[in-house]
């Protein structure tokens, strides 16, 4: 019952949910939530392939590095969000027009 395909389907579904969040939301924090979902889908794929296809634990190490990079990304991203809110008094993505023209 538990097979590689079921993990891949869960991961695909999570990825699509992250994509939906990133496209549909206009709030910067919500977009960061979507990025977290997508990163988790990728890490789940690594671990699933590591158990069902290869014979070593390199996939586990890769997903650990994904978690590290996600932590760094969340720290910097949320700092940028807070700074943006100090400047624009809003977290709406359409307010970020400073580099336009």
């Amino acid at each position: 019952m538990i097979s590689l395909t079921s993990y891949l389907l869960i991961s695909l579904f999570l990825f699509v949910l992250g994509l939906v969040v990133m496209i549909a939301r206009k709030n910067i924090v919500a977009i960061l939530l979507g990025i977290e979902l997508i990163l988790n889908a990728a890490a789940l794929n690594f671990v699933a392939y590591s158990r069902y296809v290869t014979n070593n634990l390199d996939g586990h190490v890769f997903s650990l590095f994904i978690i590290v990079v996600a932590a760094a990304e969340a720290a910097v991203g949320l700092a940028i969000v807070i700074r943006f809110f100090q400047i624009k008094e809003s977290t709406h993505i359409d307010e970020a027009t400073q580099l336009r023209n």
Binding site: I2, L8, A24, N40, A43, R51, L64
Partner: protein
Amino acid sequence: MFLQVLFLLSATLTIGCGIAVAVTRNLMHSCVFLLGTLIGIAGLYATLGADFVAVTQIMVYVGGIVILMLFAVMLTGGKDFVSRAQNLLGLAPSMGNKWTFALSGLVGVVFILTNVKLLMSVASSLPTKEINNELPSTVNEIGHLLVKDHVLAFELSSVLLLGALVGAAIIARPRKQ
């Protein structure tokens, strides 16, 4: 048997909370549902025999990143996030409206269809190894891998974390008036 029950519970938690993250209108509720998704993914890691990754997932994501997200939500403006949103059409509240959800749903359906088609052809041709049903501890071997094969990436990730934290502290510093 225990593995299958755990798998079903974790998969349901992951997918259900993921859908809730995608459709909830309240950003705070979205963050809390993301917590459920991450715990479900930790359960899926546990069913895959990845005990160290599961514990790391709970410690880093559930204990760190989601708390950071909640702090960011609370610091950036309460109930302001659904109001005074203006784009070109003047119809976009910040947590999404029916047009953005329709567009993203279309993208998602197309993505799922193409990927399921790809998966079906790939999944039959994968060389699957023999699955042993007892799940040994992986901590020892991951420790050896981190300081032998992947030592460069290990050190670089420490530098990356240090840089990211210092950068975050500098970026979020209050303005000098």
